[in-house]
Every structure is written in structure tokens, then in C-alpha cells.
Amino acid sequence: MFRGFYTVGSGMIAQQRRTEMLSNNIANASTPGYKAEQSSIRAFPEMLMSRLDATRVPTEKGLHFKGLTPVGELSTGVYMQETLPQFAQGQLRETELKTDIALIDGPMDVNEETGIVGTVFFTLAGENGDQYYTRNGNFNVNAEGFLTNPSGLFVLDTAGNRIELPNDDIRITQEGVVFSGDRQVATLGIAYSDEPDTLLKRDNGLFNTADGLALPAGGRYSMQQGYLEDSNVDAARAMTDMLAAYRAFEANQKVLQAYDRSMEKAVNEVGRVN
């Protein structure tokens, strides 16, 4: 059988996954707090190929030894192994709204072993207390007077409590202290992750930890009220990557066609009498 038949098939699937991921990046090019995704494409585990043959020892009656001679390694395809959000700071955009807050990374600690840079997040909680983390600082004061995100999750303060405000006329300092008039209401709770790659990405710009444990406070950051952190998608780059993925898809398709023609020959022409 043609081994490469399925190899190019897997190549097409991997490149299709890649365009799906890139089109999501393009779609979220104007979503505040969105972190562009990168993919890593990996070859299938390699397998060792050997030739099964016999060695003939020239004796009187003829002696055969069956044995394996290694040919080499072969990998039979490719798949998209990981999608990793890239946590670089997005640029700030002024919105004039008092409940829009941009979180700005300070100099973060770098993990010496892995070289991963830590990231800070706003802390949110659902009705049942599940904690989520987000970079999207587009908040609102809901009808009951709690500071919430657009999907109704509560923004938490440093003590893990919801933030209750009389109205949306608030002032937020660079350290995240929330004032309503002259009254200090709360301090926005900021969570720090030293390995943000392990966080699971969900809808609405939310992240949560895979093990369900809460992230600790910490990290160096500042805040800017009346601004939002823009998506860090570089549209030009996303489009270029998309075209590259498209052409790789096309190349795989061409190889598949070549295999198909070889197969056609094998079926119809090999061993034909006239």
C-alpha cells in the first residue's frame, strides 16, 4: 500500500486545523484582552523500518538465515499538537468609560528553567463561586450594583468578595483601588500565574486552571481606567500565516493527487495484456 497516502491526508487535516485557529485569531482582532493563539505542528511518533530478508551462506545444500536489516526511521504524518495563547501585552485604547480598565504588565518574573514569563489576570467568579481569570477589562455595573463582566460574572476584590457600587461613576487608581466618590470601596483582585500556558482557554476571554485551584495574588502590574487592552493579534501576520497554511494544504492535496494517479496506474495498467 502507498504509505504516503495517509501521510498527506494527515497533512491536509493539520493545515486545515491551522487555518481554523488563524481565522479565530482574525475574528478576534478587535476583542479587548484577546491573546493570539499560536500552534505547534508535530510529526506523528516515528517508527523504525526494517527490511526482512535472508542471508545465504554458500554451503553445499544452501543455508538461509532470516534476519532484519534496519532501513531507517519514518514518520507517517503530522498533527496539530498544541494551541498556545501568546500572552504579550496588547496596546491600550481609550474608551472614556469609567468601568473599562486596562491591566498593564509590569516587569514579570521569568521562570529560569522554562523561560516562561508570568502573567497577571483580573479575577472573576460565577454565581456558584467558580473562579475565572481574564485580561478583558470591559466591565459594567449591573442593575443590582455589582461590578460584572459583560456575561454577568462578578469581578472580585483582593479578599475574593464581589464589588458592590452605588453607580458606575467610579475612580480606579493605578494600583487598582476603587473609589466611589471619596469612599474607598475595594481593591481589584489580581491573580498571577507563573506558567500561563497551562491555563485552559474558555469562551468570553476567560481562562481557568486545569486542576481547579485558585491562582495566587502577586505579579507586578498597573492599571489604567478609561482604557481597554486591545487584542494582541497582528492582522498582517495572521493573514500571512493563513496564506502559508493554505499553500501547504494545497501542496498536500497535489501530492495526494499524485498518489491517486499512481494508484490508478497500479489498478488499471499494471499487468494489462494488451
Binding site: Q81, N138, D197, D203, L228, Q257
Partner: protein, 277 residues
């Protein structure tokens, strides 16, 4: 099926809504008392795909890959900053100079009447019975006083003047009439129902939402009335920034184009699949 196409189309649909919104802001750039509204995007669902369960390779993220399916409008928020005050010199034009304060207007409903809120301060007098006049807004709806009643003025009034604390003084040959204008602070304008470009009302399903009217608004009464900011013979212009809206319009249109390009690419990929044989 190829997910690229649906991702791009979902997002294009939402970008279209944003274009509509920008169009509305731009068309109300000259509407007195209009407040600009802005749309913010949010990510749609992420789908977890466990594409190789036997994968033993070292990795940094959790098992599987997560692919998103586009973006949608997450929130529409009104910018309640005060617009520029334009002096008109007309005695019945009033501009509110403090943020979130609104005039009260009486609107007839099916079974009676209700109070709605507007910052549009160009008022008129409309003749009623007994040679008296009623203060109405530009839609002909009666303007309410602090008790929620229509304001009836003497028919032969010669001068209208409003005090900063919201008391309208009407001078007529027989003396001076003093009326407290109804002024309400909309504490959470985003929770109100927008009835027209400048009119707001309370949501109808407040009981279902578990909120009361005083969660959303504060009536200006007693000493609180000293916080009212009112200017005579002037109107508040809209707070739409023309250049911001134009920039957003261009950016949104380009984003739309980018997504349309994704659809084209997905279509060509489907064509390639079709063309395998």
C-alpha cells in the same frame, strides 16, 4: 466540515451590527442630548479537541487543542459624559451640565401614562384650556415637575428662567410662578431601556429581574437638588466624537474584509478537496 468559514461568518454578522451602531452614532452627531454608544467584542466558545490520545510528547498546555469559533458583541455601553454646551439664546432651551441627570417627560401608554427620561432640553409651550400654556418637549410630550405632574404656565408669560437647582421661574404680568422641574439621575444608564435616540425608560421586567426603580435611578429632591447643573438659553450637543466614529468605522470595515477573506480561503480549500479527483 471546515470550521474557518463558520468562524468568519459568525464574526462578520457581529461586525455588521457594530457598523450599524457606528452609523447610528454618526447620524445622531447633531442630535441634542444624544449619548454615544460603543460595542465591545467578546470571544465565542472554545472547542476542545482530543486529537491524539496516545500523544506522549512533552507539552506545555493541557491535553488536546482548543479552537475558538469567532467573536460576538459582548456589551453595548453608553458614554454618559456631558456633551459640549451650545448657547442658543432661546428662552426655553435648557442644558443639563451635570452628568447622568435627566429631565422627566410624561408619555402616554396603553392604560395611562409613565415617566420617561431625556436630556434633550429644547422645550416649547402648548396652549391648553383657560388660556394657559403647558410646557412640552419637542415631541409634544408634557414635561413633568418634581411631583410627576404636567407643568401648566400662565398664558401671558413674558420670561422663563431656570435656577441652578432646577426651579423654573416664569414671569408674567400677574407675578412670578416657581416650578420645580423633575430631574432624575440615571445611576446605571446601561440597565435602562433606550426608547429613542434620546429617551430612556425603566425596563418592563424589573420584577422578574429582582430590581426596583430606585436601584436604577435617584430622584432629585430636597437638598439633593443643589447638585443639579442647569444652564439657561443653551442646549447640550451630542457627545459623539466624529473622528473616533470614523476611525472605528474604517477599522470595523477592514475587520469585516479580513473575515471575508477567510471565507474565500476556506472556499478555495473546499475546492481543493473537491479537486482531489
Amino acid at each position: 466540515m471546515i470550521r474557518t468559514m463558520t468562524t468568519a461568518v459568525n464574526t462578520m454578522n457581529q461586525l455588521q451590527h457594530r457598523l450599524d451602531l457606528i452609523g447610528n452614532n454618526l447620524s445622531n452627531v447633531a442630535t441634542h442630548g444624544y449619548k454615544a454608544t460603543d460595542a465591545k467584542f467578546q470571544e465565542l466558545l472554545y472547542q476542545q479537541m482530543n486529537n491524539d490520545k496516545a500523544d506522549q510528547a512533552p507539552r506545555r498546555s493541557e491535553d488536546g487543542i482548543r479552537i475558538g469559533v469567532g467573536a460576538r458583541i459582548g456589551s453595548l455601553q453608553m458614554n454618559w459624559k456631558v456633551g459640549a454646551v451650545q448657547v442658543t439664546g432661546r428662552p426655553l432651551d435648557f442644558a443639563l451640565t451635570a452628568p447622568k441627570q435627566y429631565f422627566n417627560v410624561i408619555r402616554p401608554t396603553d392604560g395611562g401614562e409613565e415617566i420617561i427620561y431625556s436630556r434633550k432640553g429644547n422645550f416649547y409651550v402648548s396652549p391648553t384650556a383657560n388660556g394657559q400654556n403647558m410646557l412640552v418637549n419637542d415631541e409634544g410630550l408634557p414635561v413633568a415637575d418634581s411631583a410627576g405632574r404636567p407643568i401648566v404656565l400662565a398664558g401671558d408669560a413674558t420670561n422663563y428662567h431656570v435656577q441652578p437647582n432646577g426651579v423654573l421661574e416664569v414671569t408674567h404680568p400677574g407675578g412670578t410662578q416657581r416650578i420645580e422641574l423633575g430631574i432624575t439621575v440615571l445611576e446605571k444608564p446601561d440597565s435602562m431601556v433606550q426608547l429613542s435616540a434620546t429617551n430612556f425608560g425603566l425596563p418592563e421586567d424589573m420584577a422578574a429581574l429582582g430590581i426596583a426603580a430606585n436601584d436604577l435611578l435617584t430622584e432629585m429632591t430636597g437638598v439633593g437638588r443643589s447638585e443639579i447643573g442647569l444652564q439657561n438659553q443653551a442646549l447640550e450637543t451630542s457627545n459623539v466624537h466624529y473622528e473616533k466614529e470614523m476611525t472605528d468605522l474604517i477599522a470595523t470595515q477592514r475587520a469585516y474584509q479580513f473575515n471575508a477573506r477567510s471565507v474565500t480561503l476556506a472556499d478555495q480549500m473546499l475546492g481543493l478537496i473537491n479537486g482531489i479527483r
